[in-house]
Amino acid sequence: MIEPEVAEQLESPCSLLVGSVSAGGVPEATRGWGVEVLGPGRVRVLLAANAERTLANLEGGGAIALTTTNFVSLVSWQLKGRASGIVAATPADRIRYDAFCAGCLRILHEIEGTAEDVIARLVPVGIVACEMVVEQVFDQTPGPHAGARVAPVAG
């Protein structure tokens, strides 16, 4: 379901947006801080440890949307599915997180000219890991085709 080009972007420094919704229907937005693609339909998303609303929404298998956008080309995909668990970050997660942050700071500095230490003020207090079962993938690149489903392909 997750095509190689989508996986490559997910695991690169990119914009990661995470959407969730409470049982009462209140949507919540936060950022992702790195992704590991675990398989064709599973990813591990790093989230801010103090994103309490998001974490509460995702506990117990809440619905999740994950949008990845290339900072330069704006090529975007949105993955939708369900959280299958939130766990403490492992040493491997922290290595991925550090690489993700460093890459994002470098690219954003190159694009925007803003000092890296200013952009670094976005960095969260800590991270946790959320495993996501991916059920659908959508083309989210700005334009008239934004929102078109690319996986699973309709049979």
Binding site: S20, A29, T114
Partner: protein, 145 residues
Amino acid sequence: MAPDRGGLRLGDIAACFEGIVPAEIATASADGVPNVTHLSRVHMLDDERVALTNQFFSKTTRNLAENPLACVVVIDPTNYDSYRLLVQYERTERRGPLFERLRRDIDAIAALTGMEGVFKLRSADIYRVLELELVVAQAHVAAGT
């Protein structure tokens, strides 16, 4: 839902609405499926309301027809502080002074990003801000704020 802005006013974070750093918006369908995407700009109308431009974020639009709540995160380009807004859809404008002002803004963004012919304003959606809060990051903890 009573407004809860934690002592913050939209005017306090006016820099977030200059369109320099893209914002994000999460919505949810009636059956609880979230959607999250970027916004090129959030416009502050007054201390109670913001406007979002609708070019082609069709899923967002469909969700808001079912569930009028949205979560918007904006960034202050001067210090990269993030702010979370919980907003509630109020109305849509497809003509008039506000629409024309936002259309000119969208046209300018399109020209700057090479998206002429792709970014085209369909409507200006007005939202009431229910909650406004700083997104606490490592920098705030380190500074003891």
